[in-house]
């Protein structure tokens, strides 16, 4: 029976080939599994984008069509007509930029103290800083409002900025972890050159902490950009409103809402953050990874 068996190569070659085939199967299986899971996460994004280019007629069609037909751009322009979005964009940008810069600066100074100075009470104080992360904001809502009302800060951005300019627990923790990795030799060298604490902070610590400062800025900025509860409490005239309050304007009444305009506005409000994340992706990952935030 047995004639010439076809040549399959040496045992080692065959082993390698089989392993490659197994690996390909495994890859295919994993990709299929991931695709199955990613669909529910990506579908809303896709559906949101598609809706923003559809006409109201097409939106009400059954069965639903995935691709916009006709492809309409006017929803984006119309969104600006219905709600003064430009103004809200400007307000939010101002508020988020100022708040982020102050919070990052304040937190970095405090983090420098915790990272590079030994003092009695330091560890206990640091524990207190960390534990404030656990305090729910709603607990502070009422008394802070009373405080800012007495100060005459209602309908200004001050209540949304000032409390965080003194440093926030999360950023202090993040920056401290990073700064602890900066070798003390650099600091000693600067000290020998005659630099004081302030000089060391500006010439050694800040330049060497860039990755974590950028990561922290992005996290803080996106938090301020998306903050809704704070502005809702403190800003009550339309010319001061933030983007998130403006978005809530579109929700007039359930069932008869203009989903085309809503989706266009929601996309425009999210786009700046998407761009920032994509541009700074590598820095963000670097800052978080080196920080050891896990």
């Amino acid at each position: 029976m047995a004639t010439t068996t076809p040549y399959f190569g040496t045992y080692a070659e065959r082993f390698q080939r089989e392993r490659a085939a197994r690996n390909r199967m495994r890859q295919g299986f994993l990709i299929a599994l991931m695709t199955a899971f990613v669909i529910p996460f990506a579908a809303p994004v896709f559906w949101m984008i598609a809706t923003s280019f559809k006409s109201m007629d097409q939106i009400a069609q059954y069965p639903p069509q995935f691709l916009p037909n006709p492809f309409i751009l006017s929803n984006y322009a119309d969104a600006f007509k219905v709600v003064p979005l430009w103004r809200f964009f400007g307000n939010t940008t101002f508020y988020a930029v100022v708040a982020t810069v102050l919070e990052v600066f304040g937190s970095s100074v405090v983090a420098f103290g915790f990272a590079k100075f030994r003092a009695p009470g330091r560890n206990i104080l640091f524990l207190i800083v960390i534990s404030t992360i656990l305090i729910p904001f709603p607990v502070l809502m009422v008394p802070q409002y009373v405080l800012f009302q007495r100060l005459g800060w209602i309908n200004t951005y001050l209540p949304l900025i000032v409390p965080y300019a003194f440093g926030s627990a999360f950023l202090i923790f993040m920056f401290r972890q990073f700064m602890r990795g900066i070798p003390n030799d650099f600091i000693d060298a600067a000290r020998i050159d005659g630099a004081g604490v302030i000089g060391i902070y500006f010439r050694i610590i800040i330049p060497l902490s860039w990755p974590s400062l950028i990561a922290g800025s992005i996290i803080a900025f996106s938090w301020y950009w998306n903050n809704y509860l704070g502005p809702l409490m403190y800003l009550n005239s339309e010319d001061r409103f933030t983007l998130q309050q403006g978005l809530a304007y579109f929700i007039v009444h359930r069932g008869m809402s203009r989903f085309d305009l809503m989706m266009a506005a929601a996309i425009m409000a999210t786009l700046p953050l998407v761009i920032i994340f994509f541009v700074a992706q590598r820095k963000l990952i670097q800052g978080i990874v080196v920080t050891g935030l896990k």
């Binding site: 890859q27 994993l30 990709i31 599994l33 991931m34 996460f41 990506a42 579908a43 809303p44 559906w47 809706t51 939106i59 059954y62 069965p63 639903p64 304040g106 100074v109 405090v110 420098f112 103290g113 100075f117 030994r118 003092a119 009695p120 104080l125 800083v129 992360i133 656990l134 305090i135 729910p136 709603p138 607990v139 809502m141 009422v142 008394p143 802070q144 409002y145 405080l147 000032v162 409390p163 003194f166 440093g167 998306n226 809704y228 998130q244 978005l247 579109f250 929700i251 359930r254 809402s257 809503m262 989706m263 506005a265 929601a266 409000a269 999210t270 953050l273 998407v274 978080i288 896990k294």
Partner: protein
Amino acid sequence: MATPLQTKKAESLAGTPIPGTQPRFARVFNIRRRETLWFYILVAPWIVGFLIFTAGPMLASLYFSFTKYDIVSQPRWVGLQNYTNLLTDKLFWQSLKVTVLYTLLSVPISTMLSLGLAVLLNQRVAGIRIFRTLFYIPTIVSGVALAMIGLWFFNADYGLINSTIKLVTGSNGPHWLDSGQWVLAAMILITLWGIGGTIVIYLAGLQGIPTELYEAAALDGATGYKLFLNVTLPLMTPVIFFTTIIGTINSFQFFTAAQVMTSGGPDYASYFYVLYLYNTAFRDFRMGYASALAWVLFIIVMVLTALAFRSSASYIHYQDGEE
């Protein structure tokens, strides 16, 4: 300050550099004191901010919780009345029930789902970066934008979910946001959409597990799920613990989606605790009662955290040398 330091330095250089003697000790002591001083100067902003914007307000809030206070007139002391009123307040119990139910469902589901997805996304597969990005994108979307998507998605007539249900089964789907039974399910699904942040934290944790441990376990004959159960899971417990606590605290603060999408309806079926707190304080201006609500929330969160920490020693495994 500089001169005595310098003279002492000169002295020790010139003559008697005996360790532990008076001048040297004074020098070290001086440097220590200066370091302490600088430490407190640098952390002073945080201490000041903490006293003014956190500790002070919390004490004030405790005081308000024993008063009747409408902001316009002075607070009037009423003793424990606010707290005793809570006991018979139907909306308090309803909002607590909604929030606890939501937490009990959403926290475990999102923990397991994020961990599973993180393990999946930790595999070496072509195009893994694209998958990671796709999971992360929803977390960038703001709460209000998320609520808008939710309104559109769960729309009973034209929404994608019900359209799909009708296409597949031929029958109509539930009236999600108008249904007392389904509205919480919709809120949970919306929350799950944003687990990308937790996935990233788990991914970082998974990548911190030393490969030697897997190799050692593999030598002992462990494969697949056994590796996961005996190596991955124990080493991930600190991260799981951390995210579960933060997740629980956050879910007790759930607000935006409920406020924007349903205003707590239908018939208070999505009336979350913080929504009730917000309405009591800023719609009805019952600051005293709202403060009592806030303190009850604070105590619940603190008790849960304390219980979690107290029990943690038995199931958390810390790697050696980890701080």
